[in-house]
Symmetry: D2
């Protein structure tokens, strides 16, 4: 990252900025420029687009407001790399992001370097206190935003590579898989429920959809101590789960039938009947001890139905998660695993809840285009809690609300069962 001469270590915010920004480039490092340009479906974006859009976010929401003598890096980028902010203006059509061969990766790298240099100058320069606070707030949001795209970058590139008959690996598999040791089937953990507070409480960063903290009444419930595993999910398949309408939501059954589905997204069966799973390390034998991943809500709900259980609500999940240390999964092998009680709350798979993504009572969107960040998507999506192996370290927390439509399964999405107290 040329042209930044500052002593970042002496400026913690700048230091954090540079570390997060650098991480995005590291994620793209194993990929060719050609890999970075392709878009495998409208829901996914090219890696290059992620790299440019996150940069656009800083340029549009910070530099355009606070930089003296602001001039855009390229006037067309305002449209090309706008995702969904109607308040900003026109947008390049989402389904055609893979056609943006210009600018090339080299130019997008230059765009990143240029914005990074201007951001460094802005951070180092003196601003009026009010602006300084605004800058810190927006910069933090921009970095959390970039971390969200870091996870999407990985899920999107996995989906792209999965389209290839060559089943290429994003990364070579490590010599030994640094995976959480098998969990010893866990059983159920009981929670008392009651009138509780839900939503972010603290003075760090959170997204607006985690606010306001508010009261909810939750009846007593039990959560499974660990995630449903591949082996358990395979038993559901072998029991005819994908052929039994009575297990599925009506829309889920239509989805299964119209697409002819019979297993999770990345599972394959070879000619000998062995199950394989496409991973970021290429095609691998299915490990029955690992959490089942890339499940849609439809599949998670049908499995729960079959198992005589149900999905947790997001309030149940959050109550249970209070006090659980943040854990990490296979892409962050250094992380420890909580030794007792609830396991795999963080760092393995996002966990579907039965809760529709909706505003908390008293929710307010920000003024202006940033008000489009979360609020306008609060319909026909369902909340996932926890975090996944692809979530950047430090990004998740107990009150974090991820959300996707019920049929989405290209994310690292799995399942923790819940049930009533008998």
């Amino acid at each position: 990252m040329h042209a930044i001469h500052t002593d970042a270590a002496s400026h913690p915010l700048l230091h954090h900025y540079q570390r997060v920004r650098q991480h995005s480039l590291q994620l793209a490092a194993p990929l060719s420029d050609e890999d970075c340009g392709a878009q495998s479906m409208p829901d996914a974006s090219p890696v290059k687009w992620h790299l440019a859009h996150t940069t656009w976010f800083f340029e549009t929401f910070i530099l355009e407001t606070l930089e003296h003598g602001f001039a855009p890096f390229h006037p067309a980028f305002r449209v090309l790399f706008n995702s969904y902010y109607n308040g900003i203006g026109d947008k390049h059509p989402r389904a055609q992001r893979g056609l943006l061969t210009r600018p090339g990766m080299a130019q997008v790298r230059a765009y990143r370097a240029d914005v990074d240099a201007r951001m460094a100058r802005l951070l180092e320069a003196g601003l009026a206190p009010a602006q300084q606070q605004q800058l810190a707030t927006l910069l933090t949001l921009g970095l959390e935003h970039e971390q969200q795209h870091q996870e999407l970058l990985l899920t999107d590139v996995k989906h792209l590579l999965a389209q290839s008959a060559l089943f290429p690996a994003y990364l070579e598999a490590p010599a030994a898989r640094a995976v959480a040791a098998p969990a010893g089937k866990g059983g159920w953990i009981a929670f008392d429920g009651g009138l509780s507070e839900i939503g972010y409480a603290g003075d760090g960063f959170c997204f607006d959809n985690e606010l306001p903290r508010h009261q909810q009444f939750v009846a007593p419930f039990e959560l499974a101590s660990s995630l449903v595993t591949n082996g358990e999910y395979l038993a559901f398949i072998d029991a005819g789960g994908y052929r039994n309408a009575s297990l599925w939501l009506a829309e889920g059954w239509d989805w299964v039938r119209s697409q002819g589905l019979a297993c999770p997204l990345y599972w394959r069966q070879d000619d000998a009947g062995n199950w394989l799973e496409f991973t970021l390390h290429g095609l691998q034998p299915l490990d029955p001890e690992l959490p089942a991943s890339h499940l849609s809500l439809f599949e998670a709900d049908a499995y729960a139905h079959w198992a005589g259980a149900r999905l947790p609500t997001e309030a149940e999940w959050e109550l249970a998660a209070h006090g659980v240390p943040l854990q990490c999964g296979q892409l962050h092998p250094a992380a420890a695993v909580s030794g007792a009680g609830l396991r795999q709350m963080f760092g393995h798979c996002w966990q579907w809840t039965s809760s529709s993504y909706a505003p908390y009572p008293g929710y307010r969107t920000a003024p202006g285009a940033l008000g489009e960040y979360n609020g306008k998507f609060m319909l026909n999506q369902y909340v996932l809690r926890g975090s996944s192996c692809a979530t950047p370290a430090g990004h998740a927390r107990a009150s974090y609300r991820n959300f996707f439509p019920a049929g989405a399964r290209w994310q690292f999405t799995g399942l923790r069962l819940a049930r009533e107290v008998d």
Copy 2:
């Protein structure tokens, strides 16, 4: 209804059965056999199909179980008039119900008469007490089911007639419209909220989705005393509501744009710019005092946003409705209107809530095919509360949960605003 010689008055359940069944035929009376056969869209069904399917419900779920020497009226009807019960077996494709010219209306009337006669014999005959209870439970469910289809029959036939360039009336308009007197703009009614019980409580009939009654915490809130009117909604249109992305949910904005929408479903503007509304009495001048109807949740939400308010949750609505007498709208002109406080809770328009249609904590579906009645639809739909001008008398209650997808607007669906307490 030939062949029923019993003294129905002496058998209250049979009397109720005959009254509800007769009402379905009365609703079809203004229509030709040709009107009764057509299907204007996959979401709607032909009148004839409603008449047959409600009969199939009694034949399949009661006679097949309890009638001695059961033989179906016609073996093919089991498939032709099955709506969505996978547990019963095959189904005629939903989008092709309008192609069922055979059986004709005459044969469907004969089907109704035959099942009615057999039901009368069953009700009059002695059954073992356990079976007697089962019969009463299923019969009540069948009649509530038929009442639901009575409302759908009206909304579906309205949608069909609206496709015609002739804009035919289902019924001639009454000499004077027996409509609730204009309401005197109402203002807001405040509610305390708190930890409350929600769901059906009583010993009458309710649907399984109203159970179990359970606790919810509700923050203080305010509800508008009356429904948003046509005149108020017109102000939203005139203010550019359909052209302002910032007012809409993301999915709603896509919906508006892709369909080129600029007003509610049945509104038309004549060459002179006057607004008209297609009604069951044909095309009429738009009455600014009447509640705005046939709104999608997208439109209701955008209006609320524009008005600085929001949709109520279903818990808020239900808390407010406790103690409100059931009211009726223009199709039931005899009904009185509550004189004070909340108005138009029942009998005018179903009222969109922001609540996703989801199972109550501890919800259990019935065993067998009847378990498909409600539970499998609890996804990507939103709850409406109250009742409409097309709801049969006696069908609604405060805990009743109607539900439709966010884009549906061929039902009599309107809007009551809510807001936080300042």
Copy 3:
């Protein structure tokens, strides 16, 4: 047909008019009003619509021009029953003809009677000679047009009835099938070809697409003496014809695969493996001696490929047909069959040719809206020659050009093989 007091026998054109018009009503006679209103697919029209549109043709193209004091029977009918004449103005959407429950069949019958009475008055009244000629020309076109719709009425109602699980018969089957005796497999008939004249020659009626008669050079060729039979087509199926890509045109193979096709449109196989065919007399055992019918051009071409032959060109077919007496099929059992040489040229199935539907050299369309009758459809359609069992007596001739897209198969369409001379 009330209100026509004339002595039609003394007025041959009126007599012909009344006979053709009456025949349309006779074709509708076995059907209920409900049958007459439904539309099974966008390519087909309801019987009622055929009855009204053919009437609209006389009202719009004759009465509107020549009737003194013309007033339309109903002003909305000009739009409702316009098929595709942009020159006339707006059109009711083609795919929604089945939603026209108003006007009902009774009103459409009244429309026919009214136009018939006005046409009779016009024919009996004196007109100036130029107008008299114009009237005769338009009236003949109108009747030929109605005969085309008589055939479509039968194919469309067959398609509608085939959607029903009841497989109802349009007509009860005759006691003994009055079908042309099996033909004794025919072999090939050789033709010399050469520089020949093609197109209508005579002073009777023909459609504009049969003109001008013009020269074409045709190389020597051979035609099969009879149509491919059900039994022969079954051998193609049994030989894996529907699973062998090399037999099919590229677009045909896509069509077979995307729709999962394995036999002609109306064939069914029962649980015991016996082949049945849905006919206007209901579901019948497949008769191996009858001509294979309801084939798409894709299927006809693949069969020919498999049989080592090809489709004829329309010029070859027409050359061969000169001098062949018009024959009739099973719906016209009185008709005789030509005893020698070419058989089944008329009255059984329309016969696909390899000729794209294109204008003859020097082709001119009529001025005004009637110019839209044929010319604008001369693209991406293929010519069929002969006539079918559903073609009204007297309608076909050797130069007649029927045409449909390559994937159409709800018409009575079959196959006569051709080949080069060795």
Copy 4:
């Protein structure tokens, strides 16, 4: 191109092979690897795919048969780069060619080099005479095939670049446009017609669809001496051509309306109302003297209708072209223009004819997978004659039959008018 040590000049076939192969790489030279990977629509292919598929053709149809000890460069390429040959086996889905980021351009270049080296060895080695002949035949076909893809490579990359808001140039525009001098409006050239021979005659290469040469009778006709120009086409637009249904084929009118079209594919109007055209040199002012290009058959036919003329048949065009020297357009500026009579027959735009793409009488496909080269596409496509500015030198001839569906317009397709002799 490493590893080819031979003296190509002494081996004319090898020399020709190397020149054609080299030209493909030259066409890709102005593009980045990212440009080469993207696919702008299912009908178009990535440049990289063209480079690989043409190589696959030599490997599959020549090396696999004739190379001693054949082993594929990569076993997966047999599927990845098969276009449409069912006889070869599975195919990567056509619409997903843009997702093949692996192999990258570097590997595809290596693939080309490897096959080129093996082809050189095969050509230099001795083969039995029968095999030698087979090799020469297949090699010539392979090179003609590659030349077809060279043109497609240019049209596909033009379509890709046109999707970008940056409107990038494939090549910088030359200092002065080396375009054929304006033609002096040409008028009509008359031809006698008569019984003529059509199809390839000679002992050079031709495609199977140009055979067999056969007799056709052609009536006297006239052809416009030059192509319709941008200026002439603009007059059609200004006269309301895109809003007048009576000018269009029915399917063309549906096409115009459903896509909201008002001008040719690459035309744009700036805010001041000036017309621009996107070209391989970027966005340029529309030159009224140049031939109108990128027209669909629908547009060509509507223009001809408006101009009181018609499209030529392919037989008319071919008769007229006999004896016309092959000319070249703007991408081949050195070419001369015929000084008298017919102009622009070659080297500017492919010229739509009214002839459906169909087999000539007696046409035979090759045995095996190569039989799929042309024959299976002879349906619902229309013949274009001549050649374009993007056609490689030496590829076209008077009997050459290009073909596309009527709505295609991303090729360099224009229009020469024809008419009857008065």
